[in-house]
């Protein structure tokens, strides 16, 4: 029997919740972000998650808040932490979707996609 991991996706903007069931061993599910990452799983299952840098740990647009199952994800590194430091709406369980890899084949993960994942920052000079 293949493993079944689940990610429950809650959208802060009020869109209907989604639940994705998948076998982590079948990653990658598409080509952006780390293989088996939350970004990879979501995009590969038809759920849009912004990733302006292409999923290369160079921006914060794939910021998600992990509400459950965080211990089944790969640990963050200094590069991810440095970017998260600048993410709007940072929480203690924030992660970059492109970097957080589902490591447990039976993971049960809950993520919230913040309303503002965006770092489309307008200049302080009013531009």
């Amino acid at each position: 029997m293949p493993s079944v991991a689940r990610i429950r996706v809650i959208f802060e903007n009020g869109d209907p919740e989604r639940v994705i069931e998948f076998d982590p061993a079948r990653a990658p599910f598409q080509h952006d972000g780390k293989s088996g990452s939350i970004l990879d799983v979501l995009l590969g299952h038809g759920i849009h998650l912004e990733h302006a840098c292409g999923g290369n740990c160079a921006c914060t647009t794939c910021h998600v808040v992990v509400k459950g199952g965080g211990d089944t994800l790969s640990a963050s590194d200094e590069s991810e932490d440095d970017l998260l430091d600048k993410a709007p709406g940072l929480t203690p369980t924030s992660r970059l979707g492109c970097q957080a890899v589902v490591e447990d084949p039976d993971a049960e993960i809950v993520v919230v996609i913040p309303r503002y994942t965006i770092n489309q920052i307008v200049s302080e000079h009013g531009g």
């Binding site: 912004e50 292409g54 290369n56 160079a58 590069s79 770092n119 920052i121 200049s123």
Partner: protein, 223 residues
């Protein structure tokens, strides 16, 4: 979903056989020096997302992106193959590697190769808002003939006495940083803005933070 913009390639400047700037003309967007746009490229029947730093300044009409051919890449051959007049769709601006004004401390900019792209508008802003604190650019490239914007940077150094510009071979960037700003003195009040490709970037970050510079004093973008 992010707002999409459409622009035309208004002009192409060839820096070297494998390195060009594309000047994109379309709706004028506000951005901060150091930010990038995310190009949506129709390649192989799908849309590739590829980030490119904005090499121009917010005050200019066209958005300049500067890129080189990445062996085995998909995005750079597409963009480098575009003729003048071609359409480019993108989202943005994006990114938090930014500089709005010169820091209230000595500032060191480190760029390797085409990673001068985001550093260039940051430097322009820095010299335009400079106070009494020195500004340095350490620019890594295989040889001086590979430096992009060399004439502009040299002119900047002539016109702004507080700004110094040095070229070092890319392979010696780490040693140069260590020699000048780690082993050279005990001052740990400087600010660093580093951009490059691959392992050199975290290597410099770790070197500087390990030497006692504060985490937020070492800003970087790794390509």
């Amino acid at each position: 979903m992010a707002v999409e913009h459409a622009a035309r390639v208004a002009r192409i400047v060839e820096h070297a056989p494998d390195t060009r700037s594309l000047f994109l003309r379309g709706p004028r967007i506000a951005f901060r020096p150091g930010q990038f746009i995310s190009c949506l490229l129709p390649v192989g029947g799908e849309t590739l997302i590829r980030p490119y730093s904005i090499a121009s300044s917010p005050e200019e009409d066209d958005l300049e992106i500067c890129l080189n051919l990445v062996p085995g890449g998909l995005g750079s051959p597409y963009l480098l193959g575009l003729p003048a007049g071609a359409e480019v769709r993108f989202t943005g601006p994006w990114g938090t590697f930014v500089l709005d004004r010169a820091p209230e401390a000595e500032a060191i900019f480190v760029a390797d190769g085409t990673a001068i792209a985001p550093i260039r508008p940051m430097l322009r802003r820095a010299v335009a808002t400079a106070t009494r604190h020195p500004l340095h650019l350490l620019y890594g490239a295989a040889g001086p003939e590979r430096l992009l914007y060399r004439a502009e940077l040299e002119a900047m150094a002539r016109e702004h006495t507080g700004f110094r510009f040095e070229h070092v071979p890319s392979a010696r960037l780490r040693d140069a940083v260590a020699h000048r700003w780690v082993d050279g003195d005990a001052d740990r009040g400087r600010r660093f803005f580093i951009c490059g490709v691959g392992a050199i970037v975290p290597a410099l970050r770790d070197l500087l933070r390990g030497a006692g510079y504060e985490r937020r004093a070492v800003q970087y973008e790794k390509w």
